[in-house]
């Protein structure tokens, strides 16, 4: 009896140790799997950065090293910046993203408020059109829009690049959801205080919807900084090219031989968004995946 009581704690302690070992092993396995995946995800970025620092001789040599033996960063970046107006492409990216976003917000916010809170003729047809618009990517209206812009002599303008995106049905849809939950009592109180609907939208409702607006802004900027299809169609003038199109022009001009300069260019054009992402990680993840979560 006494012996049994003495013996009992020992196997118990053994299982505790066992579970601890098992837990440790599964933790190790988890990190091993996740790290392997992370290496696959990050390898292109690391390789891009490292290649942009290497000398051509080293890039073309048969033995592979990640860390450059001789740094040629200055030559590579200088070459990239002088053969193609990379900073101009980045500036175009900023202009286009900013222009699109401002108009999108100015158009979508009042419309979303009207859909959420006001009764007016044409409300239902508008909402049906918004829902229909959600299903139609820009590639569908591209042909007629191109013909229209060409016949107006507007190809190769910032306006042509931005025009199809001035209206974001997604923004209307998202903001409408957000505004709907805004309390009617506050709006009615503001009305009794003599505020116009215009003031109510911009001074009361919009500040409360700030998270949705910030998230949408990130989503919009990322989408249009990276868009290739539409700019490729309406822009042939290098000076107007947004980053992806500029990268394409540059890669064509280099005909794939000077990888040092190519990766330097890729680094310059990827950097703004990647840095913004690292700085505002939460906002980015919210903004880009909002399409899925809402």
């Amino acid at each position: 009896m006494g012996a049994a009581a003495l013996a009992e704690p020992i196997p118990l302690r053994a299982t505790a140790a066992q579970t601890r070992i098992r837990r440790l092993l599964s933790l190790l396995a988890t990190h091993a799997v996740l790290m392997a995946g992370a290496v696959f995800m990050l390898l292109p970025f690391v390789w891009m950065l490292m290649t942009s620092l290497k000398s051509p001789g080293e890039i073309f040599s048969a033995d592979f090293t990640l860390w450059p033996r001789r740094f040629s960063a200055v030559e590579n970046y200088d070459r990239a910046l002088t053969t193609a107006p990379l900073l101009r492409f980045a500036l175009n990216g900023f202009i286009i993203c900013f222009g699109i976003l401002v108009v999108q917000l100015l158009v979508a916010i009042p419309a979303a408020y009207a859909l959420a809170k006001l009764k007016f003729p044409g409300r239902n047809p508008l909402f049906v059109l918004v829902l229909l618009g959600l299903c139609i990517p820009v590639q569908v209206p591209a042909l007629p829009l191109y013909i229209a812009l060409a016949s107006l002599g507007l190809l190769n303008t910032y306006f042509a690049i931005m025009f199809p995106f001035f209206l974001s049905v997604f923004a209307i849809f998202l903001f409408r959801q957000f505004f709907k939950s805004f309390p009617d009592d506050i709006i009615n109180a503001a009305r009794l205080d003599g505020m116009s609907e215009f003031e109510i939208v911009w001074r009361i409702v919009v500040p409360s919807a700030w998270p949705a607006i910030a998230a949408f802004s990130v989503f919009s900027a990322v989408a249009h900084w990276n868009d290739l299809y539409w700019p490729l169609i309406v822009v042939s003038d290098t000076r107007l090219a947004p980053p992806p199109l500029g990268m394409m022009f540059f890669a064509d001009a280099e005909t794939g031989s000077n990888y040092g300069a190519l990766t330097a260019a890729a680094t310059v054009l990827t950097a703004p968004l990647v840095i913004a992402f690292l700085v505002a990680r939460r906002r980015f993840i919210e903004g880009i995946t909002m399409t899925g979560v809402k």
């Binding site: 995800m41 292109p44 191109y146 199809p164 209307i172 992806p244 890729a266």
Partner: protein, 302 residues
């Protein structure tokens, strides 16, 4: 008394609402009609004509364009390429993202690092990264083939072999989409109440796999449906990597529908024919979107 007083106010409010509502919605309405509705009707009409951009007149040809497209071996191949691309990217990016999300969800201190690592490709400019991938996969200069040689394996001409080109692009597609899907799954996972797992432990559901099968997987159902549909749509719209890395080659093995629409419509200016291809493209996108509304509906009712 109160009702008496408020009636004129209410009808005045009614008129203000009608006026401001119309005014607020008008810019959006006008743009929707200009950018979406009219072009949509125009595409449908153009697909029934033999219009070529720049031509002075066009003939009505009915469904001839559509028939031609559906029997054109190039378009058939391109359509089957597109669907094959979807068939690789869809399971690849959804299942891997689910696995990564389940593993990342339990991490506390390292969660931020993994989120950044997996999400980075989503924010990066795909065209710039495509150039980098081209270099990574280069037969002589790229590290991937160097690694294969080091392991004593044969070199793989990833982008210049017709059998390899499309699957390679699909792997890059998975690389780009994985982080996006992971974050959607993470959102779904954090919505699962913790006490369900505790209850399951009491009920004797002990191992991780059992827990996953009895709780996580069924409760993630709606999220999974949604991820599947959005991934299908994104994958079906593949264009960037094709345009930059392979231009549909070698020998048309990586031509996809959107690339053909681009070539026909904006390089060869066969506008009518490209419009018919766009109608086919729209048909698939709408089919996916119908599935999406269905998925969303289920999400709401869950």
């Amino acid at each position: 008394m109160a009702a008496e007083l408020s009636r004129p106010r209410r009808s005045r409010q009614h008129w203000i609402e009608r006026l401001t509502g119309t005014g607020f919605a008008l810019p959006a309405f006008a743009l929707l009609i200009m950018v979406n509705l009219l072009p949509l009707i125009a595409v449908l009409y153009l697909s029934l004509t033999d219009y070529e951009f720049g031509a002075l007149e066009a003939k009505f040809v009915g469904l001839a364009n559509l028939n031609k497209a559906l029997s054109d071996p190039i378009i058939r191949r391109s359509l089957s390429n597109t669907l094959l691309y979807v068939a690789i990217v869809l399971p690849g990016s959804v299942l891997l993202a689910l696995a990564v999300a389940v593993l990342v969800h339990g991490r506390r201190r390292t969660r931020g690092f993994y989120e950044v690592a997996y999400f980075l490709p989503v924010t990066s400019t795909l065209i710039a990264m495509a150039t980098v991938w081209q270099f990574l996969l280069h037969p002589r200069l790229g590290p991937v083939n160097a690694a294969l040689r080091w392991f004593g394996l044969a070199e793989v001409p990833f982008l210049s072999d017709p059998a390899w080109a499309l699957p390679t692009l699909a792997v890059i597609g998975i690389w780009q989409l994985l982080g996006f899907n992971m974050v959607l799954f993470l959102a779904g996972l954090s919505a699962i109440p913790k006490d369900l797992y505790e209850a399951a432990e009491i009920d004797g559901v002990a191992t991780g796999i059992d827990r996953f099968l009895t709780i996580t997987w069924p409760l993630l159902g709606p999220t999974t449906m949604f991820v599947i549909v959005t991934t299908s749509i994104t994958a079906f719209k593949v264009f960037d990597t094709v345009a930059v890395m392979t231009r549909g080659g070698p020998m048309g093995s990586s031509e996809v529908l959107l690339y053909n629409i681009y070539l026909e419509g904006f390089q060869y200016f066969h506008t009518g024919y490209a419009a018919a291809l766009t109608v086919i493209f729209l048909f698939f996108i709408l089919a996916f979107s119908v599935a999406q509304t269905f998925a969303l509906e289920r999400r709401v009712h869950y």
